[in-house]
């Protein structure tokens, strides 16, 4: 089974890091060459939103992938993916505040209160902030693995809010939001299934806390 040594892992991370920046580079390139269409501000805001959602879902795919492949090291790239989701949502929000609304705080306040898709998007963003703030070894140590894990389960709610945000903002054609909703549905259903299986195991007396079903923080005291 593939199990990278520390140098290989560093290499994988470097390549992944560069790849995660590609969507942003593409936008920069498009803006520079005036290739973002008739409404470039809308294009930028939407593209950054799409990539936020993509990164959220990819982050949620890491654990299923790890379980399917047995590649335990996958957990060690999860933090980077999650932080990129946050990176893109910060850009997405900035694009809305700056390019779209040009810091018209009255309009922004009204939007957050009156337009349901913005309200739920904002809620998703607020919930992401503590996750990003605690995505480092020092915070994991301070919180303790268990509390850290409990906090980071809010990613499931964030995923639901994010898809709802997308669903509510389209005018009529919900085909693409539907694909995202279905993907999220599968990813969340897997969690429910694992919980159920774990309970079954517990009941059977085979208590094994560190079975692959348990999410282990990247660095914990254990």
């Amino acid at each position: 089974m593939f199990n990278p040594n520390p140098r290989q892992l560093a290499g994988i991370k470097a390549i992944l890091f560069a790849a995660c920046l590609l969507p942003l580079l593409r936008l920069g390139w498009g803006a520079w060459n005036d290739e973002l269409g008739a409404n470039p501000i809308e294009f930028v805001t939407r593209s950054l939103g799409t990539w936020t959602l993509n990164f959220l879902l990819v982050t949620l795919t890491v654990t299923p992938l790890r379980k399917a492949s047995g590649w335990l090291w996958l957990t060690r790239i999860r933090r980077m993916l999650g932080l990129f989701a946050f990176f893109y949502v910060v850009l997405h929000l900035s694009s809305y505040l700056w390019l779209d609304q040009f810091f018209d705080w009255t309009a922004i306040g009204k939007d957050i209160l009156k337009r349901p898709f913005i309200t739920v998007g904002m809620a998703a963003f607020m919930l992401l902030v503590p996750l990003a703030a605690t995505s480092n070894n020092a915070m994991i140590r301070r919180l303790g693995g268990r509390r850290w894990q409990a906090l980071h389960r809010s990613i499931y709610v964030i995923g639901i809010f994010a898809v709802t945000h997308y669903w509510w903002l389209v005018k009529k054609d919900v085909a693409l939001p539907g694909v995202y909703a279905a993907t999220l549905g599968v990813l969340l259903a897997l969690r429910v299934l694992w919980r159920y299986q774990e309970k079954q195991k517990l009941r059977a007396g085979a208590v094994q806390r560190n079975a692959p079903g348990t999410v282990i923080p990247i660095t914990s005291k254990r």
């Binding site: 269409g37 008739a38 409404n39 501000i41 809308e42 390019l99 609304q101 040009f102 018209d104 309009a107 009204k110 939007d111 009156k114 337009r115 349901p116 898709f117 509510w168 903002l169 005018k171 009529k172 054609d173 085909a175």
Partner: protein
């Protein structure tokens, strides 16, 4: 036809913009005489139109560049992305094309599009266009008042509304195969709105035959209402007594009303209607009541609660 070229290629796609402009000058100079005597036998997208009247209804604002007007469209019959119509609408066949004008009229008629083009002098009308999604353009349309067409058929006394129906051909309009809307697309106006001199039947823009993605060969333009009221690729105009159920009202009655006048006071759940982004501009501008056409159309709605009749 002056220039032979496949109808499915938009001229600006194959010709740089400045050359394109000069080419139009050339056409005007050389072709002016020929065109003055007869319209092209079969006008296709991109062919020049003879525009004889500069309308006093035109705004002096700078028109949105042609490349944006023909690349950023809502025309769900060709897909729901803004870029889809420009990509897909080349399959639309605009000849032969007939429009039937029927319902509560004295003389129902089915007119061929080339006869419609000869019905009245073609005017250039530079109108603001405000989309319900919060963006706007300034478009130099070519057309004639809808009233001209309606007078041809002599509406009866009990005709109160006009229902306009777009083509819905699954073979040439790929979007029809998906049920995002209840096809065919229909729109409606009150008869006095339809007879208003600002209400336009557009057959072209920027001096040329309407590109397919903008609603060829014949579309409605109502500049004081949100853009979706301007039904495209029309095949039927029917005069009726009851308020017609339009496609968007059927789809989401709480979001879209029959009137759909541009109104910064009435918000849509998804888009604040207080401001808009003019395509090509960075900062948003304030949206004007009736899209700035209040002086001309305000009296149509005297005494009506426009928050209720949105």
């Amino acid at each position: 036809m002056l220039i032979n070229r496949p109808s499915d290629i938009v001229p600006s796609e194959i010709t740089p913009q400045d050359f394109y402009a000069r080419r139009r000058e050339f056409i005007k100079a050389v072709g002016g005489l020929a065109l003055a005597t007869a319209l092209p036998q079969s006008a296709l997208a991109g062919d020049p139109l003879r525009v004889t009247v500069k309308s006093p209804y035109s705004t002096s604002e700078t028109p949105t560049p042609l490349k944006n007007v023909i690349a950023y469209n809502n025309f769900y019959e060709f897909g729901t992305d803004k870029e889809d119509p420009a990509r897909n609408a080349h399959t639309l066949k605009t000849r032969p094309w007939t429009v039937s004008i029927e319902g509560l009229v004295k003389r129902p008629k089915t007119l061929a599009i080339d006869d419609i083009l000869r019905l009245a002098p073609l005017e250039e009308r530079i109108y603001r266009m405000r989309c319900v999604e919060g963006w706007s353009m300034v478009i130099p349309w070519v057309g004639f008042p809808l009233a001209t067409l309606l007078k041809q058929v002599e509406p009866l006394g009990n005709a109160k509304y006009v229902e306009l129906t777009s083509a819905a051909d699954p073979a040439t309009m790929p979007g029809i195969r998906r049920d995002v809307l209840d096809w065919p697309y229909t729109e409606g106006l009150r008869l006095d709105e339809a007879m208003h001199p600002l209400t336009l039947m557009a057959v072209g823009l920027y001096g040329e035959v309407l590109p397919n993605q903008n609603g060829a060969p014949l579309r409605l333009v109502v500049p004081w209402k949100y853009g979706f009221k301007g039904a495209k690729s029309l095949v039927r105009i029917r005069l009726v007594e009851q308020e017609p159920k339009t496609a968007w009202v059927r789809a989401a009655p709480r979001e879209y009303g029959f009137y759909s006048n541009v109104n910064p006071e009435v918000d849509h759940p998804r888009w604040s209607q207080g401001s808009e982004r003019r395509i090509g501009e960075f900062l948003k501008r304030k949206t004007m009541m009736f899209n700035g056409y209040g002086d001309q159309v305000g009296q149509l709605y005297a005494g009506m609660d426009l928050k209720k009749f949105y």
